[in-house]
């Protein structure tokens, strides 16, 4: 589904991603772990189409090169980024924003706007999935939301937009254990044989709830080790040093 080949990204002349390769197939969950500053969030932003980076390399989604597409075009192709720090947007209501998002994507695909009643039905159904309070869907996007509510709102939006590739950037940060369970539940329920998920995280904790098929270690802009879910447990136990400085560990 997603194929990344030799991806380089730099900002203001500083190279952050330095030749990253990754293959993600439909139906799979990939975890990307790594120490601070290794380029995890940059990878998420670059995949979503943030324009602050100079990007070289190839990103294809279902065979289509998306590396030159605008963020909204990528969204229409099925890319979704759950933000580490969801942005508060005072004055823009969650509902109106989602209606515009759904219909802009439909317009991109040559479809007519969704009927109001269908939209409301969808809204109700997906809201239940992440146990999001009705009041929050009518409020301004993320404004005054608690950390947990913001993250639930991200997964709620993901449910509404049904992406092919979901990238969850540190979705566990700032969550207590109950919120974590709700968020992870939502992600698991949205999982299917046709979509794929990339989970970016610092900690193994989230991976107890969202079980990855593969775990990759990102360090200094490259994936330096890949394995199965056991790798995450090993990282939890040993940290990253044994991978980063293998000669010292020996």
């Amino acid at each position: 589904m997603l194929s990344i080949k030799n991806l380089h990204a730099s900002v203001d002349g500083t190279e952050i991603l330095k030749g990253l390769n990754l293959e993600v197939n439909a139906g799979e969950v990939h975890a990307i772990m790594g120490p601070n500053g290794s380029g995890k969030s940059t990878l998420a932003s670059v995949l979503a189409g943030k324009e602050d980076y100079e990007v070289l390399g190839e990103i294809t989604l279902n065979g289509k090169d998306i590396s030159d597409l605008a963020p909204e075009e990528r969204a229409a192709e099925g890319v979704f980024l759950a933000f580490q720090y969801p942005v508060e947007i005072p004055g823009v209501s969650n509902v109106n924003f989602l209606k515009t998002a759904v219909n802009d994507i439909r317009a991109f695909k040559g479809l007519p706007p969704m009927l109001a009643k269908d939209f409301l039905k969808l809204l109700k159904e997906k809201r239940a999935l992440v146990e999001l309070d009705k009041k929050l869907t009518n409020r301004s996007v993320n404004e005054g939301f608690s950390g947990g509510e913001k993250k639930r709102n991200e997964i709620f939006q993901m449910a509404m937009l049904k992406p092919k590739l979901a990238i969850l950037d540190e979705t566990d940060s700032g969550l207590d254990i109950d919120a974590l369970r709700i968020v992870a539940n939502g992600v698991n329920k949205l999982k299917s044989a046709d979509n794929a998920t990339i989970v970016i995280t610092h900690y193994q904790r989230l991976l107890d709830y969202i079980i990855p098929d593969f775990v990759h270690v990102l360090y200094d802009g490259k994936i330096i080790k890949s394995g199965t879910k056991e790798l995450a447990l090993e990282l939890e136990e040993k940290g990253y040093d044994w991978l980063i400085k293998p000669e010292m560990a020996q």
Binding site: P71, E72, F80, V87, P90, V92, A101, D104
Partner: protein, 425 residues
């Protein structure tokens, strides 16, 4: 030099002489005539006009307003409002286009008629609030005003529907001095909408409105400025509030080359509420200047002022809000805020919120922010599939919403929302 200026002034005033055929023998007119001998065009050396040059107004030659031939004004109405309509075209009152069914407790008529038919009321109120002795444009209006609206709402009357005054221009380079006088008696309630639009051509509108908000009365006023991009306007609104009255003004400026609004509110009674809200959306080389003065003279009053600007291209917005709290005016709550969003590097905002406080037991605050669209928010919206255009539109609407949500008339808010959306699509 002064001879040249004097000639220029006389040339400018000559634009209005022929049109002021109405026999007005008011004291105010005499005062204004006298004041005009010494008053000159405001310049940027005057603190009050520091950021606004009036050359575009004073250097122009205006043609005589032609009689008009307008029959369909439907596009200037607020759909679903069902208001009393008072329509002026090229400065002339149009009886045919107006819909003034006289209801109990309300007098609505052209001011020229009130001058003859409501002599006592007229004399007691006309020119008592306007700044014709100190302000050039106010003096011009007071001497040369042709027409406008006289409104009297009797004690305890609640006007059943809004009164919509529509000022239309269908002329090349016309100039007029609309003059309005609103007297809202004790405990009366009224909603007044004043819209300025251009059918074709351009105009200089020099409007002065005096509003008496008597004890316990409530006045909701809306001004919609949407004239052509070559039109100019100076708009003075002088208000006096008596005890326990509420005056709310929403000023929405969507178009016009040069627009200057001067609000002067005297709060002369306890327990009053004053709300001034303003929104301007500028583009091209437009210059929009909002000056407000709220003078708290008595204790226990509240004023609330929010002005918002969304500035595109190389346009300019000026905000100067002054709140006086006199020594007697203890327990005053005064809040003042100006926020500007600059959409380009070439747009400018001049913001000057001022408080002058002579009482010691008051709660007052003021603030000003000028910034750009939050690009993080734009990116966030776009990652959800919202097009860049729609994302920017949403952000602008959200910013403007702080003013729009104060508009209590749904039909009017809907019109403004669609006009704003049109602007950015």
């Amino acid at each position: 030099m002064s001879v040249v200026l004097e000639d220029k002034k006389q040339a400018f005033l000559a634009n209005f002489v022929a049109k002021s055929a109405d026999k007005d023998s008011s004291i105010a007119k005499q005062e204004a005539l006298k004041a005009l001998e010494n008053l000159e065009f405001p310049t940027t050396r005057d603190e009050y006009w520091k950021y606004t040059r009036v050359g575009k107004i004073t250097n122009a030659n205006y043609s005589q307003s032609p009689s008009f031939n307008v029959s369909d004004i439907s596009r200037y109405l607020v759909e679903g409002l069902g208001a009393y309509l008072v329509v002026f075209v090229n400065g002339f009152f149009s009886e045919e286009l107006s819909e003034i069914s006289q209801a109990k407790g309300i007098t609505i008529c052209p001011i020229a008629k009130a001058r003859k038919e409501h002599v006592d009321e007229f004399d007691q109120h006309f020119g008592r609030l306007s700044k014709h002795e100190s302000q050039f444009f106010s003096a011009v209006n007071t001497v040369y005003n042709t027409n406008g609206v006289y409104l009297n709402i009797e004690k305890n009357s609640v006007v059943d529907k809004p009164i919509h005054m529509i000022n239309l221009t269908d002329a090349a380079n016309a100039a007029y001095n609309p003059r309005n006088l609103f007297i809202v008696e004790e405990n009366a309630e009224v909603t007044i909408i004043n819209s300025y639009e251009t059918i074709s051509g351009s105009s200089f509108t020099n409007s002065t409105t005096e509003i008496y908000v008597n004890e316990g009365a409530t006045v909701d006023s809306y001004i919609l400025q949407n004239q052509s991009e070559t039109s100019k306007q100076v708009n003075e609104i002088d208000v006096v509030q008596k005890a326990n009255s509420i005056y709310t003004a929403n000023t929405v400026t969507l178009n016009g080359e040069l627009v200057r609004n001067n609000y002067n509110i005297e709060v002369k009674g306890q327990g009053c509420k004053t709300n001034l809200y303003g929104l301007c959306l500028t583009s091209g080389n437009q210059h929009i200047d909002n000056h407000t003065i709220i003078d708290h003279i008595e204790p226990n009053c509240e004023s609330n002022e929010v002005y918002i600007g969304v500035l595109d291209d190389s346009s300019t917005a000026v905000f100067n809000g002054k709140v006086f709290v006199r020594s007697e005016a203890q327990k005053t709550n005064a809040y003042q805020q100006n926020k500007n969003m600059l959409l380009t590097d070439d747009a400018s905002a001049y913001s000057k919120p001022e408080l002058e406080i002579y009482a010691d037991d008051v709660k007052c605050s003021h603030g000003s922010t000028t910034g750009q669209v939050d690009e993080e928010a734009i990116f966030y919206l776009r990652t959800r599939g919202v097009s860049e255009l729609n994302a920017r539109k949403m952000m602008i609407r959200a910013f403007a919403n702080e003013i729009l949500e104060n508009i209590k008339i749904d039909a009017l808010r809907a019109v403004l929302e669609s006009k704003i959306d049109e602007r950015f699509s």
